[in-house]
């Protein structure tokens, strides 16, 4: 179902959502970092930054999350699991890449044998309102990574900015629950033309230049390539690329306890940290940047596709934008995948 929303009603619309849902959306930077956050006032919502620094995965898989609390009485203990989400939630304003990434994380967290209840509970109780990207950034390569700037998949509703109005598409049953919202109006035929035009322009800008297709097979032959000896060299192991990556899902589990009370917490972790794989004995199976960088890239473009049939990269470009030493994952992919990357070959060999 296709509808539209006047921008002058935007804040009232958000308010109407907040009557029934907890609303999460991108906001002004918090301590210099732009994030998705639970909204208290509609005026907080800030859609100016195309890809907020911290991806929307934070809403389903928070950077730090209490798994369960416990209390000990003598030799006995009591545990209280914390997965329950009491109020239905709406994630508003996530871009197609971030939404695609949530379904990628879902592939690993929701399994046949074991399901991560903390993730699933949040996923089930969240309605996702996606927002199309009229002006992709120079670092965006979603089309190459299997997505596109207006990909609807994963969204329950989809918004496209038409200037004065938002074009609104209801895509799923969850999304249809909002069709009676008093601020939605009928769509004009002209709007549909405008949508087509915007899509065309955005597709053209983002292009298909990064050779992600077929990369899995190529990397099969590169496990011990000299490529890895060079490609990691400028990486300082700060791990910002993995923290801000919308598909990275590694975590650590730690206990925080005082006296007889405590909690088990999970925190985002990164394969780029030496301590990540360091064993108590002192043995580290990934002792240098070479093995750790290989792990990061191979996991995204070889191991994950082997298990789930899709690369674990959505082309959001955050790892390129925020790397302190300008490591560009696209360069690495270009080199790894095709003969045409002559200059790059020199660079990495």
């Amino acid at each position: 179902m296709k509808l539209k929303l006047d921008k002058k009603n935007f804040e009232d619309f958000l308010k109407s959502l907040m009557e029934e849902y907890d609303l999460y959306a991108p906001v002004q930077p918090v301590e210099g970092v732009s994030v998705f956050k639970k909204i208290e006032q509609p005026s907080e919502v800030n859609l100016t930054q195309l890809v907020p620094q911290k991806p929307a995965k934070d809403i389903f898989f928070p950077q730090s999350e209490v798994m369960f609390c416990y209390e000990m009485a003598g030799k006995q203990s009591r545990m209280n699991s914390m997965e329950e989400i009491k109020r239905e939630r709406i994630l508003f304003g996530a871009r197609p890449c971030d939404i695609e990434a949530i379904s990628i994380i879902e592939k690993i967290f929701v399994g046949e044998e074991y399901t991560d209840v903390y993730f699933l509970e949040k996923r089930r109780k969240t309605t996702i309102i996606g927002l199309g990207c009229n002006h992709p950034l120079s670092t965006c390569f979603c089309s190459s990574a299997g997505g596109d700037p207006f990909l609807r998949a994963g969204s329950d509703l989809f918004f496209i900015d038409l200037g004065e109005t938002y074009f609104v598409e209801l895509l799923t049953e969850k999304g249809a629950a909002l069709r009676k919202n008093r601020f939605f109006k009928e769509v004009d035929p002209n709007d549909l033309t405008l949508v087509k035009e915007l899509e065309g322009k955005a597709f053209e800008k983002v292009g298909y230049s990064i050779p992600v297709e077929g990369i899995e097979k190529r990397l099969d032959l590169m496990t011990e390539s000299s490529f890895w000896d060079r490609v990691h060299e400028k990486c300082i192991g700060c791990a910002v690329c993995t923290y801000l990556c919308p598909t990275c899902h590694c975590f650590d589990m730690v206990d925080e306890a005082l006296n007889n009370k405590g909690q088990r917490v999970r925190n985002w972790d990164s394969c780029l940290f030496p301590i990540y794989s360091l064993e108590t004995s002192g043995h580290n199976p990934r002792p240098t940047g070479r093995e750790r960088t290989r792990q990061r890239l191979m996991h995204k473009f070889n191991y994950f596709p082997k298990n789930f049939g899709r690369v674990a990269c959505v082309g959001c470009g955050r790892c390129i934008l925020y790397c302190p030493v300008q490591f560009d994952i696209r360069e690495a992919l270009l080199y790894a995948s095709a003969k045409r990357a002559k200059g790059l070959k020199r660079k990495f060999r």
Binding site: F109, L120, R266, T280, H283, K306
Partner: protein
Amino acid sequence: MKNPYLPIPMILKKAQIETSDRLLRTLELGFKNKEDEESFRFIPGQFCELSILGKGEAPLGIASSPTEKGFLKFTVNKAGVVTTALHHIEEGSEIGIRGPLGNGYPINLFEGKNLLVIGGGFAFTTLRSLVAYFLHPEHRAKVKEITVIYGARMPGLLLYKDELLEWERRNDLKLVTTVDWEDKDWKGKVGLVPNVLEEIAPSSENTSAVICGPPIMIKFTFPKLMALRFPNERIFTSLERRMKCGIGKCGRCNIGHLYVCKDGPVFSYAQLSKLPKDY
């Protein structure tokens, strides 16, 4: 829906120091709840995450056999925060476990064949489970000859000494123990496991080999098995990696596209030879 991160409560029934260096302690855990005991089904080679509230979790192979009912046995090397706590915890205390985790040994593939078990040091836990399983009257006929080669640096560092004596007396199992440094009472062999294997030279015909030990031992044992013409598909080893979740979510224990926690910890040499050497 079942939350796979919540440990089930166990009670420490009995604890015993295993080795002369006092760094290995065997814990016998009983189930606190009957229904947990009934639903806990495992095979040798699987492991559990042992949980001490306030300290954290550590993955440990199950040292008891499924044929031994009513308890689970773990042998803990005192190394980090959790394992130290597991050394200090008193009998009667509660310990959480999550499991059984991992794939375990391919019991079905062993059936109808000879079984060669090669162990080193304190990695003998799940091998003990495997041998005890096949020594049980109900399962003994499933495999033909059982040969166990077990080595440690010193006689005092061998695990399960009473049981080894018992095995020695059996006529349906060939046990060869070896140490790097003997003491005056030592009656077994002296020498490194790979060399003892070469000396004994068990036939590879219709035989599966299972190796578990320190990485250096495994590294030098593989070529000896090759020389004895064991095919890659019939050599198995159990790997250890740093782990957190134990269920293939948290990411850290992968070797290539496989996870040690979920797709392992038992791998055939045929599998390993196709993966990056991230272990």
